[in-house]
Structures are given as structure tokens and as C-alpha cells.
């Protein structure tokens, strides 16, 4: 206790007691204004928090509405694009495969006619073997019945031989015609195969179109749901956006790692070109130059993908005339090729510099400088990597587009959740402050319970006296 507050020096207990009594008296005297102050303050704070909560809730509702609009609009746009692509594919298929259908039909008709003609030519027309056989049999019986008459026998013998000759001749001609028939039938085989193959191709094309039309049906159904602004469509699109966000985020992370490797490949040799001592802020200029090259490669990749209409990040490129778009595509590809070649040579230079550094380090350490046996393998590997990585980075455009589109939805949802949390926090804090006010008032009264008790007793006695005074005399 400070000396200034010691009422009785040397007796702190008594001093504290006196101070406590004084404090209780002052607090009792100021009880009603103190209660009002506490209640007023807590009410103001709780009210402010409640207002803030309502305001945040309004903002959250507006954001939710906007998120829903954005989600449905992007879903509608995506579905339109998919339907458009499917129709484009069907159109290509029809133009490519079924556009030649009249020619195909004529070819099929010719093949069928040719088969039919061959089939007719291959019709079997055998001689009448039973008549021949019976005639030959009869001559043999006549020879037996002639009973040795040589003249009759000779005549019949001659007849028999004539029949046999005619039979052999007929059989020969029949075999010949059978051979011709077989040849014709074997000649038909390639026609059959060709026809079967043509029909299979037509079947495949038609089935493909049927599958695509089924897909279009599903997309149309989805489009219909989105147009109706239904909750089902919203749920479906929201889940899809989250999945896209995660997948594209993962692929972009891999791409960033690829970019880092690319950076490591060219940062050291760039110092040979732009110097190793100059700095731009906290980065070496050589590092900045390497980063710029990688960024330019990614940009060229983006332009290439846009020109090919694989992505649609820049509507200006997508809406260009086909000729200009093709020029842009070739320009991007050529620049990318040149940059990839530069990177490949830089990667080779990196290998040379690393070998030079290793030789110097060995020399400084007093070790004989040694050339590794398979030194060319990492050199070739680095050059290949330096050439391939720029093209691999080109494909970053695809996940980047998905990421940007899904980020709008996921970011909006995250912000909405944060606002909802803030609303809850405001309401909770308002309620706590309100109850804290009541608690503080009770605590205040606890501190001055003694005078309050006295007051209560005094008031009680006064009240009973008043009541007794009012009771009429019996």
C-alpha cells in the first residue's frame, strides 16, 4: 500500500479497513447512477454489435445472391460452350464421315450388284445323272440278255461305250462349270469383306453420333435446370466448381514446381549474359531475367492455347478472324520454339559453368581436377529438359482457366462463410455484453450489500409503521 494512502502509518490493516468503508459508502451513494451507467454502456455496445450483425447479415445475403447469380451464369456459359462444342463435333463427323454418304451408297450398291451378278453366275445346273445311269444300266442288261449273239452284243457294246463317253463328257463339263462357280464364289469374298467393313464404319459413325446426341440431351437437361435457376442446378454447379478448384489448384502447384526447375536451369547461365553482381531490389538481375523468360514462355503458351480456342481467357483473341488467329498461333509457336532453343542452350551452358565451378573448387581444395566419366549424360538431360519444359508450361493455360473461373465461385463462397461467421460473432458478443451488464450490476450490489441490507431493514420498519398507522382502531 502506498504511504500516501496510509491513514494510520504503521497499521495498514486499519487503513485498508477505513478505505474499504469509505469506498462502500461512496459506492452506495453512487449506486443508482452507477447502475444506469453500466446498463447504458452495455446497452449501447450490445445494440451496436447487433446493428453490425444485421448489416453483415444483409451483406452476406446480397453476396449469397450475387454468388448464386455468378455461379449460374458461369454454369450456363459453360454448358452453352459444351453444347456448342458437341454440335461442332457432330457437324465435323457428319461432314467428314457421312458427307460422302452418296458416294458410299453408290459404292455399296455397286458391290451388292457385283455380288448379285457373281451369285447368279455361280448357280449350279447339274446334268440329269439318274437318266444316264439307268441308260447305262439298261445297255449292260441287254448285253447280258443277248445270250452270246455277237452282233447284238457288239451293237449294244457300241451303244454302251457311246453312253459312257457321253457320260464322261457331261461329267467333265459339269466339273468345269463347278470350278468356274467356285472361282466366282471365291472372287466374291473380298467384296463381302469390303462391304462388311464399310458397313462397320458406317455403324461406328452412326453410333458415335447417337452417343453424342445422348450427351447433348444430358447437357440440354442441365441447361434447362440452370435456366430455371433451380436449387439442384446450384448445388450441382457448386460441387463442380469446388472439384475444379481443387484439381486445377493441384495441377497449378505441379506447374509451379516445373517452373521452379526451369528457373534453376537458366538462372546460373543468365548471370553469364547479364552479370551476376547487378541487382533489382533484393533479386539479382540474372534471376529477374530468368523469371522474365519463363513468364514470356507462359504468356506465349497462353496465346497459343487461346489461338487454338482451347481456352477462352482473352475474348479478343477468340473473336479474331480465322486468318488473324492462325497468324497469331504460328507467331506464338515460333516464339515458343525460339525460347525453348535458347533455354536448351542455356541449360548446356549451365552444365559447363557447373563443371568449371567444380574444377575450381577441386583446385582450391588441393584435389587433382577430375572429369566425370559420364559427364555428357546430365548435359544431354539438362538440354532436353530445357527444351521440353517451355512446351510443358504451355499447358498451364488450361488449369489456369479452370482455376480462375472456379476461384470466383469458391472465393465468393468462402467470403460468404466468413461473413456468416462474423454475423454469429457479433450476435454472440452482443448477447455476452448484455449479460455482462447484468453481472456487473449484481457484482456492484454485492460490494455494497451491507448498506443495502440496512436500507432494506429501515425501509421494512418504515413500511410496517406506515401500515400500522393506517390500520383503523378497533
Amino acid at each position: 500500500m502506498p504511504k500516501a494512502m496510509m491513514i494510520w502509518p504503521g497499521n495498514p490493516g486499519l487503513s485498508i479497513f477505513v478505505w474499504a468503508i469509505l469506498a462502500i459508502v461512496v459506492m452506495y451513494a453512487a449506486r443508482i447512477p452507477a447502475h444506469q451507467a453500466i446498463r447504458g454502456f452495455t446497452r449501447v455496445v450490445a445494440h451496436t454489435l447487433r446493428l453490425a450483425g444485421h448489416s453483415l447479415m444483409d451483406a452476406q445475403k446480397r453476396l449469397a445472391l450475387r454468388n448464386r447469380e455468378v455461379l449460374l451464369a458461369s454454369g450456363q456459359e459453360l454448358t452453352e460452350r459444351q453444347i456448342e462444342q458437341e454440335f461442332s463435333r457432330i457437324s465435323t463427323t457428319i461432314a467428314k464421315d457421312l458427307g460422302t454418304y452418296p458416294a458410299l451408297h453408290r459404292k455399296l450398291s455397286e458391290q451388292v450388284a457385283s455380288i448379285d451378278e457373281d451369285y447368279r453366275a455361280a448357280t449350279d445346273s447339274p446334268p440329269d445323272p439318274p437318266a444316264w445311269t439307268s441308260a447305262i444300266g439298261m445297255t449292260q442288261q441287254l448285253v447280258d440278255k443277248s445270250g452270246g449273239d455277237k452282233t447284238v452284243g457288239r451293237v449294244i457294246e457300241a451303244l454302251h461305250k457311246g453312253f459312257m463317253r457321253a457320260h464322261a463328257q457331261a461329267m467333265g463339263e459339269y466339273r468345269k462349270s463347278s470350278r468356274t462357280r467356285h472361282r466366282l464364289l471365291s472372287h466374291m469374298m473380298p467384296f463381302w469383306r469390303r462391304t462388311a467393313s464399310t458397313l462397320a464404319s458406317v455403324d461406328k459413325t452412326v453410333n458415335g453420333i447417337v452417343e453424342r446426341s445422348n450427351h447433348i440431351d444430358k447437357l440440354m437437361e442441365q441447361y434447362h435446370e440452370i435456366s430455371k435457376r433451380s436449387d439442384r442446378a446450384e448445388r450441382m454447379l457448386s460441387t463442380s466448381a469446388m472439384t475444379q478448384f481443387l484439381i486445377s489448384g493441384l495441377v497449378l502447384t505441379i506447374a509451379v514446381l516445373g517452373g521452379f526447375i526451369n528457373f534453376q536451369l537458366i538462372a546460373l547461365p543468365m548471370s553469364e549474359m547479364v552479370g551476376a553482381s547487378a541487382r533489382l531490389g533484393s533479386l539479382k538481375v540474372s534471376q529477374v531475367a530468368a523469371l522474365v523468360i519463363i513468364m514470356v514462355e507462359i504468356t506465349m503458351g497462353l496465346f497459343l492455347m487461346e489461338s487454338l480456342r482451347i481456352t477462352r481467357l482473352f475474348p479478343v483473341i477468340g473473336s479474331m478472324q480465322d486468318r488473324n488467329r492462325r497468324i497469331m498461333m504460328w507467331a506464338s509457336l515460333v516464339i515458343l520454339l525460339v525460347l525453348a532453343s535458347i533455354e536448351s542452350s542455356l541449360a548446356y551452358m549451365r552444365d559447363l559453368l557447373a563443371a568449371n565451378n567444380a574444377a575450381l573448387t577441386q583446385s582450391l581444395a588441393g584435389i587433382a581436377v577430375q572429369q566425370p566419366e559420364f559427364h555428357w549424360i546430365p548435359a544431354v538431360g539438362q538440354m532436353t529438359l530445357g527444351f521440353i519444359l517451355p512446351f510443358a508450361l504451355t499447358f498451364v493455360a488450361v488449369p489456369m482457366e479452370s482455376f480462375i473461373h472456379s476461384l470466383r465461385v469458391v472465393g465468393g463462397n468462402a467470403l460468404e462463410a466468413a461473413l456468416r461467421l462474423a454475423v454469429f460473432a457479433c450476435h454472440l458478443a452482443g448477447s455476452l455484453i448484455h449479460h455482462l451488464g447484468s453481472g456487473l450490476i449484481n457484482t456492484y450490489d454485492l460490494a455494497v450489500f451491507l448498506p443495502l441490507k440496512v436500507e432494506h431493514l429501515v425501509l421494512g420498519v418504515t413500511a410496517s409503521k406506515t401500515r400500522r398507522g393506517k390500520v383503523p382502531a378497533a
Partner: protein, 216 residues
């Protein structure tokens, strides 16, 4: 693109170029004591030089000078170089540096006196001339100054911004008799450097050389 856009682009490019700066780099000046029997320790000094050559990079400056009877002279600088911005050229400079120091270590003869202060003044002069961002003077010596008659060296030194490191401060015979002589000697140099505005460090364990140079 109109004229205004051209001007804006030029101003932006100029601002970007203005942000680029050549790093001031690090400057190291190493003094080698060649007096008396200390020349026997020159092989250790070679290791220190090699270590420094391995760690200094493009844009850094490095010089090696000997301490002899009168060290305040350019003639005592054995080799000096500011490493080129291109790493391959810097490596060639380092090879040449190493060759010069190796040749010197093989043919060094002991000096009759030890003018450490003169060498320190020469180091300060060279480093101030080169103007690196970080100035370090390494003194590879027993720190026992033995001046010629008539040489005046007892004046204050201006060592503001300098870090002075005494390396391999060997104990002399007289130090063994009375170690206070050794301690007083080191204290004397510490006081002199710190009064001049510099910082002082002693490294006798050459395995801890990484403490000498910090990355800029």
C-alpha cells in the same frame, strides 16, 4: 500509341532501370605476416586464401599483401582483384590469384621487422578506394609489432565501417613465460581498432572461417 503513352512508357522504363543497381559486394584485404619464423605458417594462410576464393563471388574484391619491415606500400600487395560480373571470368581470376599466392608461399623470405600498422593503413586505403559494401581486414599474424627505428605508427586509426579479424595469433615463447603478455597484446589491438571505430575479432581455430564472411 500517342505521344503521351510513349512518354509514359519511357518514364516507366527509366524508373525500372533506375531501380537496378550494382551490388557493392564484399571487400576483403588479407595481411600475411612474413617476419621471423612466422613464414612457417604460410601454408595455413594459403588454405585461408583458398577458402576465401571459394566463397567470394562476382562483384567482390579481394587483395593479399605481406607484412614486412615497412608495410605501408603498394609494393607489398601481392595480388588484388575485383571479381568480374561473369562467373566464368571470375573463376579465371581466382585461378590466377591462387597461382600467384602459391608462388609467393613457395619463395617467401622472413622480414627483419613487423609493421602491422602500416599494413593495416594500406588495407584501409585500398578498401576505401574500391568502396565495397562490407569491408574486412584479415591479419594473419602473431600480432607482435616490431617497428624499425624511426617509424611512427602510434597515432589513431580511422577504421569506421571496418571489421578487423586477427587470424592464427600464435603464442610466442615470452607468452608462455607470462600469458599476460599475449592477453595484453590482443587487448592493445582490440582497443586500437575499436577506438578507431572498427570491430575486432580473433579467430585462432581456422575451422571457423565461415564466421569471417557473411553473405551480402
Amino acid at each position: 500509341m500517342n505521344i503521351r503513352q510513349h512518354i509514359t512508357a519511357l518514364v516507366a522504363a527509366a524508373m525500372l532501370l533506375g531501380c537496378t543497381s550494382s551490388a557493392p559486394g564484399r571487400g576483403v584485404y588479407m595481411l600475411l605476416d612474413t617476419s621471423g619464423t612466422y613464414t612457417e605458417h604460410l601454408n595455413k594462410a594459403q588454405s585461408v586464401v583458398n577458402y576465401l576464393l571459394g566463397n567470394l563471388t562476382s562483384g567482390d574484391s579481394f587483395a593479399v599483401a605481406r607484412i614486412d619491415s615497412g608495410s605501408f606500400s603498394e609494393k607489398d600487395i601481392l595480388m588484388r582483384a575485383t571479381f568480374d560480373a561473369r562467373p566464368s571470368v571470375a573463376n579465371d581470376q581466382k585461378r590466377s590469384f591462387k597461382k600467384t599466392i602459391d608462388t609467393f608461399a613457395g619463395s617467401a623470405r622472413g622480414a627483419s621487422h613487423t609493421d602491422i600498422t602500416g599494413g593495416l593503413l594500406q588495407a584501409v586505403e585500398w578498401l576505401n578506394e574500391v568502396g565495397p559494401g562490407q569491408k574486412t581486414v584479415l591479419i594473419f599474424s602473431d600480432m607482435d609489432e616490431d617497428l624499425q627505428k624511426g617509424q611512427i605508427r602510434d597515432f589513431p586509426l580511422d577504421l569506421r565501417g571496418f571489421h578487423v579479424v586477427a587470424l592464427n595469433v600464435t603464442k610466442l615463447n615470452k607468452d608462455n613465460v607470462d600469458p599476460r603478455i599475449y592477453l595484453d597484446r590482443l587487448e592493445h589491438w582490440k582497443k586500437r581498432v575499436e577506438e578507431g571505430g572498427g570491430t575486432w575479432q580473433v579467430i585462432n581455430d581456422l575451422e571457423r572461417l565461415d564466421a569471417i564472411i557473411q553473405d551480402t
